[in-house]
């Protein structure tokens, strides 16, 4: 069984936000909800300072704090490492949201459901379509799912996630500079494993002991 993971080369990232936008498009996310974000900061002091750009998303941690905090088992981890939320089991206690050290979860309330991309103009065809084919439940928590639908459908078709576009997360295939690479962390020959090895890629805040599946080359 693979363990899906991602490597982000922050030196390549140009902070264009196409990962965030393609993610919103893929999952029909309402306004102000992001499953992918781009953090922009600087390190060091002038004149030796440099700009740092970190695209962040759910880390699908092996020792996920959100899974440990969920009182109903609504947040669970698949064998391939992907952490998902079962909206039918979620009670909306937001314990997972508070527990996530990376703050990659969003509580979907009525306000978010009613929000329009063009306030006062009514929902667009795109938003209406999203409510029909990608519905969220009010009063539950949502988060990045590593585009699990693409992965599962791709595998059924015999495609390889990370190599074939149709089986790869939207944020990866939309990156114009190829800063993101997706693949099997358990396969030593996969591109992600090689990148981690060659570039000594690091996890974000490893001191939280959550063993994230997203690595950064900086």
């Amino acid at each position: 069984m693979p363990r899906w993971g991602m490597v982000v080369d922050v030196k390549r990232c140009i902070a264009c936000w196409s990962c965030a936008i393609s993610c919103k498009e893929e999952h029909f996310l309402p306004p102000k909800v992001f499953w992918n974000r781009v953090l922009i900061s600087e390190r060091g002091k002038y004149p030796a300072s440099r700009k740092v750009i970190y695209p962040v998303l759910c880390n699908h941690c092996s020792e996920a704090s959100c899974v440990e905090a969920c009182p109903t088992g609504a947040t669970y981890q698949r064998e391939d490492g992907i952490v998902l939320v079962d909206y039918d089991k979620c009670v909306g206690c937001r314990a997972c949201l508070v527990a996530c050290p990376y703050q990659q979860r969003t509580y979907y309330d009525q306000e978010k459901k009613d929000a329009e991309y063009f306030p006062g103009q009514g929902k667009t065809q795109f938003e209406l379509l999203g409510e029909e084919i990608y519905p969220f439940q009010v009063g539950t928590v949502m988060k990045c799912n590593f585009c699990v639908e693409r992965i599962d459908e791709g595998l059924e078709k015999g495609l390889a996630p990370g190599q074939d576009r149709d089986a790869t997360p939207a944020c990866v295939i939309s990156c114009p500079v190829g800063a993101r690479v997706f693949g099997d962390l358990d396969d030593p020959g996969s591109e992600v494993s090689q990148l981690i090895k060659v570039h000594s890629a690091k996890q974000l805040r490893p001191e939280f002991d959550t063993d994230p599946a997203v690595y950064y080359i900086d």
Binding site: A95, V98, Y102, R205
Partner: protein, 307 residues
């Protein structure tokens, strides 16, 4: 209350609890505030934890003094006030049942089971107090020990749920559980002492215990502040926000003066002689002070920046 008075009081509260809004581009780049469990509907969780724990504190202290009214007040406060506010927070009472289905999953689920066991066992313990014909099982020693343990678990429930959040260093502090236990017992003891005073009981021994509880509460509070201040950069930032930052006003007025200084003064005034009215005044200050202590602790929790 007139509309103008209401507006003034809510404006006063807003001033005390206001926070400089972190610009969106600094989210998780600088220490980022925990909001889910204290802002908006999160306020209900703060109140739910508080009333559950104080109710359990009243029940716990009543076990030692065999104060029947205390059993009933503690049980009702935990379940009716704490329980209903919990339901209000979750929004849909039917969904709460799902939490009971998997007690092994999390601290929150285990806490809900403790509340359920407390409700059932407590009911059978207070039943004789409601119907005079039944024997008073409150005197049963083993039953009391079991209820005492359950009360302690219940007192810790809220802070234990917060304590397991490693991402918030000010909550995962070692001192937070001892502080929560003594805070539940201290506030609970004040309720019991007041009601026993109303019933005309001799409060000399009880007052002596109150002084002990207060002293331990004060020590644990100072140890929590000091320990967390030196724990990590983010924990340090949290404590700075509390003692020097946006919540300093609320902290000094609400927690230090109302919750500690005034009760200390009243305790010194009552040294050697008890007075039910002064005990009532102290109870009000202790109650408000502890409520605000929990509020400021929940409000001043910050996440460690990611980059």
């Amino acid at each position: 209350m007139t509309a103008a008075t209401h507006n003034n009081s809510s404006g006063f509260w807003r001033r005390l609890t206001r926070k400089k809004q972190l610009p969106e581009y600094e989210w998780m780049i600088k220490p980022t505030q925990q909001e889910e469990w204290i802002e908006g509907p999160g306020v209900y969780l703060w109140l739910a934890f508080f009333f559950s724990e104080i109710g359990a504190g009243i029940y716990f202290v009543s076990l030692f003094s065999n104060f029947r009214a205390g059993f009933i007040i503690g049980w009702l406060m935990t379940l009716v006030l704490g329980g209903l506010i919990h339901m209000r927070y979750l929004g849909n009472p039917g969904r709460v049942l799902r939490i009971f289905a998997k007690p092994g999953t999390s601290e929150l689920a285990r806490g809900m089971w403790v509340i359920l066991i407390f409700a059932v066992l407590g009911f059978f313990q207070i039943l004789p107090a409601l119907f005079s014909g039944l024997p008073w099982t409150g005197f049963n020693f083993m039953y009391k020990i079991i209820m005492g343990i359950i009360c302690l678990l219940l007192i810790m429930h809220g802070f234990a749920t917060m304590n397991v959040v490693r991402a918030l260093p000010s909550w995962s502090s070692t001192m937070i559980l001892p502080l929560s236990i003594i805070s539940g017992i201290w506030v609970g003891s004040q309720f019991v002492e007041f009601f026993m005073g109303l019933a005309g009981a001799n409060l000399a021994v009880f007052e002596m215990w109150s002084r002990v509880f207060f002293f331990v509460y004060l020590c644990f509070f100072l140890l929590y502040i000091w320990g967390t201040y030196h724990q990590s950069d983010t924990a340090h930032f949290s404590m700075q926000e509390l003692v020097k930052g946006d919540y300093a006003q609320l902290f000094y007025v609400g927690v230090v003066v109302i919750g500690l200084a005034v009760p200390l003064l009243l305790t010194l005034i009552m040294w050697g002689q008890t007075n039910t009215f002064l005990i009532f005044v102290r109870l009000v200050f202790v109650f408000v002070g502890d409520l605000l202590l929990r509020y400021t602790l929940m409000k001043s929790a910050y996440y460690t920046p990611l980059i």
